[in-house]
Symmetry: C2
DNA sequence: CGGCTCGTACGATAGCCCTCGTAGTACGGT
DNA sequence: ACCGTACTACGAGGGCTATCGTACGAGCCG
């Protein structure tokens, strides 16, 4: 049997990741912010509860699911915590330069609007 | 008085263009396709009716309005025709490299899925 | 075991969005 | 003046989405 601390979650395969879904996922301010934080700590996996978001826990769960189903984020359980990491390898392979351009654009806008 | 062939349309100023709105606009397949065609003929202004889209004229009007209001496209009347052009200058100034990365990603996906 | 924390499931609500059809306006040409 | 073309306005339907509250399951620790 698999290790007790592993409940598996459905992720799209690399080839199933659709650009439209990625863009739609990032068109929500809460999710864009999550992705920016994940990119900032790109060598760490962050738990859902690590984020201080202006929505309830239910809504947070919803946003993380959208991110996972769009292929932007990989989620794994570690005990009761759910760890999140950007799927940078898959995204870079599919769309080279896209993620960096998106993150740079988000950083620019945050700086411009003072939302940093 | 302005030339008779000029009915003005509301466009967001460069500084008002929001990344989330741009991404949302591009997350629809019909609009992504429009933007790709506009980028391919980037030195030409294309009329709305130039596009052969799988939706009715009403819906086409709707999509072009979303593109205009998001700041992706500039629209001007020329007689009865409404000409459309990408706002590449504004987008490149706000988010350098973003538009090219998005277009390249869309081209990659189209090639991968044979939807070209 | 008992409780605590982390996250999920489900239902509900309200708003947005894609789509369409019909009716109408603006402009150019005959 | 008249007609045709290009686009718009308005309204409606149906689906998706963001949000929440409450109730629940899964794992850790005393």
């Amino acid at each position: 049997m698999p290790p007790a601390t592993t409940r598996d979650l459905p992720h799209p395969a690399r080839e199933e990741i659709r650009l439209e879904s990625v863009l739609h996922a990032l068109s929500d301010p809460v999710r864009l912010r999550i992705v920016r934080e994940l990119a900032a700590d790109s060598d760490e996996l962050l738990s859902c509860s690590h984020f201080d978001l202006p929505v309830t826990k239910s809504t947070t769960t919803h946003h993380f699911r959208v991110l996972r189903e769009s292929g932007l984020v990989r989620q794994t359980y570690r005990g009761t915590a759910k760890m999140n990491g950007l799927r940078r390898d898959d995204l870079d392979a599919l769309y080279p330069g896209l993620l960096d351009a998106l993150l740079a654009a988000a950083a620019r806008q945050a700086a411009r609007l003072g939302t940093d």
